[in-house]
């Protein structure tokens, strides 16, 4: 397929309207910098290299609801599993459980963490193995009608992660915790066992304020490794200056970028199907973005460049997809 913009020169200089506030800290030759930028942008022809200690306990949080925590957990979790890492995804949203729906495992959840705590089953019996990717397991914290009892709510997930750490089959590479919205008891329970966090936000001011607050709380709790995913980025709105660009978001929060996910109607379709986007064939923009975010998560890498799409006729440009 030939490029639709053949007249665009690849070596076009940065557009002056780019919010360039600071020069890049590293003083590499431009050519070298570009190359490393691309390798940070897109990876696909090798297995990502695991960095850090097993298990890496990552909480996916946002403060505000409906920004895509569950979508991120499902897609990043499945991507990690496809890369060959063992993953336990924990749905810590006691009130509004839906990670099982996104993964299409809702009919196979018979036991939850509450049943484990009550002694109705063992932890290994409550883990639901994904048949598409057997290295992905799901644990739901509770069934819609049976809630986590108050007494050990605050410690439940810490015990679960401890138990996973010492399980006979070996600890999983990743424990991904899908955090509920808000900063109350559910949030506290979810972040308790984590030692790193993925902050999901959308480029709007309400989500950003909550994100900043949650980041502050996480930092108070000693979680220093916080990276952000900017979700639902709409290219047309950014172009019309109706939406903040990814670099604007970064300027406001001061967090490293793990990924930029475009708004994509395929997300809702994949939710309907219970088939995470990253498994779509042919791949979708958002699915690929999630996969790349998962890649960076494994390598503890961050984005060094943001992809910018230029329209040939209009002068405007817009940042779009992570790089």
């Amino acid at each position: 397929m030939s490029s639709p913009f053949p007249h665009l020169l690849p070596s076009s200089p940065l557009s002056p309207s780019l919010p360039l506030l600071f020069l890049p800290s590293k003083t590499l030759s431009p050519r070298h910098r570009r190359r490393s930028a691309v390798t940070a942008a897109l990876q696909w022809n090798r297995k990502p290299q695991f960095a850090g200690e097993t298990p890496r306990v990552v909480v996916v949080t946002s403060g505000k609801g409906g920004v895509g925590k569950t979508t991120t957990t499902a897609n990043v979790g499945l991507s990690l599993a496809r890369f060959g890492f063992s993953v336990v995804a924990i749905d810590a949203d006691a009130g509004l459980r839906n990670l099982d729906l996104l993964l299409g495992l809702e009919n196979r959840v018979n036991y939850t963490a509450v049943d484990v705590l009550n002694g109705d089953c063992r932890l290994d019996q409550a883990l639901v193995r994904d048949r598409r990717c057997p290295s992905l397991e799901l644990l739901c914290i509770s069934k819609p009608r049976s809630k986590l009892p108050l007494g050990f709510g605050s410690k439940a997930l810490t015990w679960v992660v401890d138990a996973l750490r010492s399980r006979p089959a070996g600890p999983p590479h990743f424990v991904l915790i899908d955090c509920p919205a808000g900063i109350d008891a559910g949030f506290i329970t979810a972040i308790a066992p984590a030692n790193e966090a993925v902050l999901v936000t959308t480029p709007d001011i309400t989500a950003l304020r909550d994100a900043d607050r949650v980041t502050g709380l996480l930092e108070c709790d000693g979680i220093r490794d916080i990276k952000m995913i900017v979700n639902r980025v709409r290219t047309d709105l950014i172009r019309g200056e109706d939406m903040m660009s990814v670099l604007d978001v970064q300027e406001m929060l001061g967090l490293a970028l793990l990924g930029v996910i475009p708004e994509d109607s395929e997300v809702i379709k994949s939710t309907n199907r219970g088939y995470p986007l990253v498994l779509n064939k042919p791949p979708t923009m958002a699915g690929l973005a999630f996969e790349q975010a998962a890649w960076r998560l494994v390598e503890q890498d961050t984005m060094t460049a943001v992809m910018v799409e230029e329209e040939p006729k209009k002068k405007g440009f817009f940042s779009f997809f992570g790089g």
């Binding site: 006691a94 089953c121 559910g186 992809m307």
Partner: protein
């Protein structure tokens, strides 16, 4: 214009056949070229399947407008006339067509025929579109398939094939590493401008604004404070919070042990089993005691609890099967059956 008038007799043929099969790549702007390919040295019959479908659709919708489409050709004068004549000769050389139209007035029968074929074309287009719909994935039909929506089980989609994450043909990076082509779109790379200094500035700002200590104990609002707990670590939960509305008869140590249990029978299942066994034993003793006077009510009481009593090993096996297959009911039934046979 006279040549056009002469050719009107043949126009229906054009709208029926030539549109469907000889549509040019550029569409109807070059419609005039299509049906003259009869006498061109190399007739062009190449039509992709999808193009063919859209051509049918276009012909069904546009058949009225096509007569006008040939008007601009008039400017070509003699050439036009010569081609019309050659086409007429060719049509005349086809006996079946002339035979069919002999009985009635030719224009009427041709009209009927063309309408019939237009209807056919519309119908076939509908069918094609429907086929396309079936392969569409991620629709409400999938919710039906998954049992989330109650409806007829329509549109069961085929499972997606596993895609190799290490080989994505939709992404191309150019040699100079300054642009990336994804899904046919070209992207330029803009460097991330956040520096480590900036990051720490933000961190310091947040640590000033938000001061927080993660609570480790949850207590219901209105409850009394246990003596051995630091008040700073308590989070008070409103009484209507889901965590606060559930009570548990299990204490913290026991719950922790339950989570850490690696094998064997889960605590509560074991406890229930033991309780049931005790009850059973008590009943049996009682029965031996009243051996002479057999009470029917007693027997009924005896049989009901025995349904849920399982031997140890059976239990363990079953519970692992449950989670794998979701066969709770079947598992319980079969073990109950086994027990009764014993």
């Amino acid at each position: 214009m006279t040549s056009i008038a002469n050719s009107i007799y043949f126009l229906p043929f054009q709208s029926i056949y030539s549109q469907n099969h000889f549509r040019d790549d550029k569409g109807w702007n070059s419609a005039n070229l299509c049906w003259f390919r009869f006498d061109s040295p190399r007739p062009k019959w190449i039509c992709g399947r999808s193009r063919w479908v859209s051509a049918i659709g276009a012909s069904a919708l546009d058949s009225a407008g096509n007569d006008g489409a040939s008007v601009p050709v008039d400017g070509k004068g003699l050439d036009w006339e010569r081609r019309i004549n050659s086409f007429r000769e060719m049509v005349n050389a086809l006996p079946p067509a002339t035979l069919v139209f002999k009985g009635t007035t030719p224009s009427k029968s041709v009209l009927i025929l063309s309408i019939a074929i237009a209807i056919l074309a519309i119908a076939s287009r509908r069918i094609m579109l429907k086929r396309k719909d079936n392969s569409y994935q991620g629709s409400v039909a999938d919710l039906v398939r998954r049992g989330q929506l109650r409806s007829d089980r329509r549109g069961i989609s085929k499972p997606m094939k596993y895609d190799d994450p290490f080989n994505n043909p939709f992404v191309k990076i150019d040699k100079s590493c300054s642009t990336v082509e994804m899904f046919g779109k070209l992207y330029r790379l803009a460097p991330v401008t956040l520096t480590t200094e900036q990051k720490s500035v933000h961190q310091k700002r947040r640590s000033r604004v938000y001061q927080w200590k993660r609570p480790t104990v949850f207590l219901k609002e209105g409850d009394s404070m246990p003596p051995d707990i630091d008040p700073d670590t308590v989070r008070w939960i409103p009484a209507n919070h889901p965590f606060a509305t559930t009570v548990s008869d299990i204490d913290e140590d026991l719950a922790q042990n339950n989570v850490y249990q690696k094998d064997g029978v889960p605590f509560r299942v074991k406890a229930e089993h033991e309780a049931m066994q005790k009850k059973l034993q008590a009943l049996q003793n009682e029965q031996r005691f009243n051996e002479v006077a057999i009470n029917l009510n007693n027997i009924r009481d005896f049989e009901r609890p025995s349904q849920s009593v399982k031997p140890h090993e059976q239990l363990e096996q079953d519970s692992s099967i449950y989670q794998q297959n979701g066969l709770i009911n079947e598992g319980v039934d079969s073990s109950a059956d086994n027990h009764q046979r014993n």
